[in-house]
Symmetry: D3
């Protein structure tokens, strides 16, 4: 009863490429702090960066069959997002699957489970975020859904949502929010550039952000003696 959904929306790659110039932390702030995957997902090398359309895939524990099914649904600019139906650390993915994904234009992999062949994946510069690195292989007995809505590492992902990942983690931007989030990112970055210059010159955040009165109001006081 696994289903592959073939006609799914995708975000325009121009928008994706533009958002890819922003970091995950910036995008997460820009969209009101939503859509972040759990920090247990770590990149296999650093520095690292990817952005693309989510190609979603559910796998059974210890079973990577549906990843093969997902490859056929791939389009250039996709990022494969894989979630197990129950927690598993096995190495679902290695060099051969990466070779296949690259041949179909897939830009990277997000997986809430394990991967293997990480020396080869690193040598290929194929970006991967995973929960574990583990040599344990998988079987091909139980297919899972492909291109359905999933929850991956605590974040809801639908096919066509945009996934951006870097050294800090992985964030999902909903397709319908892309234009607004991009605009918000641009504003945040302009704002940060100005702040960065003032902070580098030694100005205090306390003054730049006018925090002193509010801190006093919230009960902060200064003392010349230790409270202990």
């Amino acid at each position: 009863m696994a289903v592959v959904v073939r006609r799914t929306p995708r975000c325009d790659l121009e928008l994706i490429n533009e958002i890819s110039s922003f970091g995950v932390a910036t995008i997460h702030e820009a969209q009101g702090r939503r859509g972040l995957m759990a920090s247990r997902l770590r990149p296999i090398y650093r520095p690292i960066h990817v952005a693309g359309n989510a190609l979603t895939c559910e796998v059974a524990p210890g079973d990577n069959w549906s990843i093969h099914v997902a490859v056929e649904q791939a389009q250039p600019g996709d990022v494969l997002v894989v979630t197990p139906t129950s927690p598993c650390d096995d190495g679902y993915f290695g060099e051969l699957l990466a070779t296949s994904l690259v041949a179909h234009g897939v830009r990277g992999l997000i997986i809430d489970a394990g991967v293997r062949d990480v020396a080869a994946l690193t040598a290929m510069s194929f970006p991967v975020w995973s929960k574990t690195i583990c040599a344990q292989g998988t079987v091909k007995e139980t297919p899972g859904n492909v291109q359905g809505p999933i929850v991956c590492a605590g974040a809801a992902v639908r096919p066509g949502d945009v996934v951006v990942a870097d050294d800090d983690g992985v964030v999902v931007v909903r397709l319908e929010d892309m234009v607004a989030v991009l605009e918000s990112c641009r504003q945040r970055e302009r704002n940060e550039d100005e702040k960065r210059s003032r902070l580098a010159a030694g100005e205090l955040g306390l003054d730049i952000y006018n925090m002193r009165d509010r801190l006093t109001e919230r009960g902060l006081r200064y003392s010349d003696e230790s409270p202990e």
Copy 2:
């Protein structure tokens, strides 16, 4: 009542050097997916690789005395495999012990506990897989067994079994299985070379592995509408 067993078998270094050209994931598959240590053992630097005869050593929690005892039993081509008798994260091993092991031809360390001096170990290119990195030192009060059968990170290891480790983890090949496993590795690699070319050319795993009928039989279906 700790025992050091002096006459233990060892595998021929030519066989070991040959198996060392294969990755841990390949070897693990080739021997029917057995002998893999838990993925909590991580290398201190990457890329990394080692293969050798297991020199086994049990240590008490917070006590590294038997590692000194083990050094005397070392022979060129050994890999030291250390397991604590109860879980411990202390730094059992550092630069001085590595210097001593190198002087006796030991190729690397597998330890289900902590190590320290990792900057120096990395500078020496001494390969180490450990559960933790921790500066906490150990005492020398309770000796443990050396060259007895142990369980390390979930895998049974006997002296003279062969240990191979790389970026993906650590696998144990039983001495008596070495010739068969090597042959199986060679076959797998030839098979993978062919698959890699076809996948790189864009052929689908679904077709290369003839998966389509079996997927249908197992209930996979395609839809042009989302199941939600």
Copy 3:
């Protein structure tokens, strides 16, 4: 009811710079194995090293306001030490705060929580030890104590205690112990240099440290047959 203590002691930077030539493992041994932070604190890049006066800061969960307060108390040679009042993995600290700290001469950050912008922090060579890397931002609603005594990752830290951190972890040296610990470090290092040469020449630790009699006394015996 948060308090900022303004007049706190600091250790002379000459002493700090001298202790910074020793590794964390050496310092920890030299002061009787005390003051080590938990090994969950990991550096964001390697190799890495820092030593400085502890500038202490408590933060509420998901709230980094008091880090801004701490910056104003910074003096050149400080290392910022941040502990949350309950466990939290959020990214409390990123590039902008690092820019501000650098402008005030702060040498690094120790935080028992998460950080973000690690690609930028690495590019700046700003040394950070943290529990997690996480893009999740924080709010500014609840100030915490600055320059009070804290417990960070299991170690007690007072303002002006000296913090040294490297690839192996983080250790705290009490201000009043600095001179004695430094002298003990120097002795240990001389001792280790001699040991290293002898071990490199193939001498056994069993002989260098005269362990054989005591091992026998503790029940170690040698056998030519396996105990199993």
Copy 4:
């Protein structure tokens, strides 16, 4: 920018009371193994059981303000489902909030964070599933969304979805699936009753489920000697 959605659907309590006679494991199977929350959510006492309409609530780390907001939206038969916007172990909920929920007909609490006053909650027989038990209190500074769609412990939950929880864990049934899932539960239970009698009489699952041929086909063989 937190939002409270006031007009949300709810499932008929008769259906909920009927599904509450089935265990979580049965319901999870009956709906195709979806909707299970992560096993880190544990009940504060056992045996324990609840079923109700999900009243969803997001909380900031260390901040339980929106739970107070949620109480006003409660209707008899609801189960409060709380998820933090980033991982937190604090004790968000205790006896006073339970008293308030009981007064409004709420049947229990599911929270992917900590609770406190568990002796009192147990004495009240107020059913709670939480990630931790922790005395650490929370602040009231940052409101979160109430009755929006959330992800809690890895499962997507919308207001009006039905939550069932027992000693085995917590499962979410989508409102639109309730009738079909109930029917499937009834069938499974009839089927299990028959199986239970045959198994109790000593019949083997191998025979009841006709597994022998398929096991042989999958490579199972019997031996009178150990493979080692």
Copy 5:
């Protein structure tokens, strides 16, 4: 170089017995949310409660020798607080030591490590909070400090500080703060009694605590449509 400090202060048992009528959550709030041990310390049975003077004890990993040393320093009304010098899950403590402590008037045990014989400890109603339950025994080779200042499960404890523990966890009250904390506990409890009655009658926290205006100010808004 382990030290046993013999003349340490103790709090009057009358004060301790009075504070023991309050829960850990109340005491923690009453003293400004400080002094809570990490929630990994769990009671071996429930319901459970203890309060007493801290009798502090450091143990080496896998070595419980100093617990025997500590018994001699015990006075009626003490609670033994044990912390390992590096993390360890071994069973440091069982029925025999509990028998000895009871004979000297010790009221319970807080240990950031493992215990064993929990069936017997439960039958004796000897209250214990530990990190693990583990049958693994310990050696007696390395003494540790007794009645010195320690950090246990993230909280600083000095001999004579008061330790209170219940189903929710463990809190430390500094000796010098006892009178003030007691008074604050009494006030909190009176306040809670009134709140409890009003909440039980169905009044909303939003109204009792006057939260509505401040919630609006912080951006909370109500909607009759889902934000998604």
Copy 6:
């Protein structure tokens, strides 16, 4: 290529019933502190106790097929010991399988994975030690070895080894060691009975075990002033 070994040794049930009067901690000490499973295995209810011949079973992740195969190999007095070939938290075992095991005289279950139906298992008084409680079901696609040698939760187990488990954990006694271990248990218990009486009378362990001189020799000293 899974194998079921049919002719395996078993220990006499009289010996097993006799050892079952001793606790796991005592047995573990009596056999030189070996054979203990990791403390992550916890009983589903307490107090709890079982002893029996190990009936060993390997399962694939998320696949409980070989448990059905194992039932056919069961003999009265067996304890089923199940280990997954890679870590998995799924609920491999519930009421139906327990019913089947009871019908064949199996006394309990040790599993380094999850179980479900724990309310029913508790009501049946069927003793279970597991890593997790989880409602997630499993498939039947990949058989595993039955009655081969395994590693379960860090301990090596062969069919016919004796497994004893109680509130403190799980220990394995090798078949060939049973007589000696039993004798050693009896001696330990006699010894403990005497110690218990003396400790209950207030005598100190320091005196009973003659520890004072050795403590002084190891550097313990007494002080009337705090070392800080």
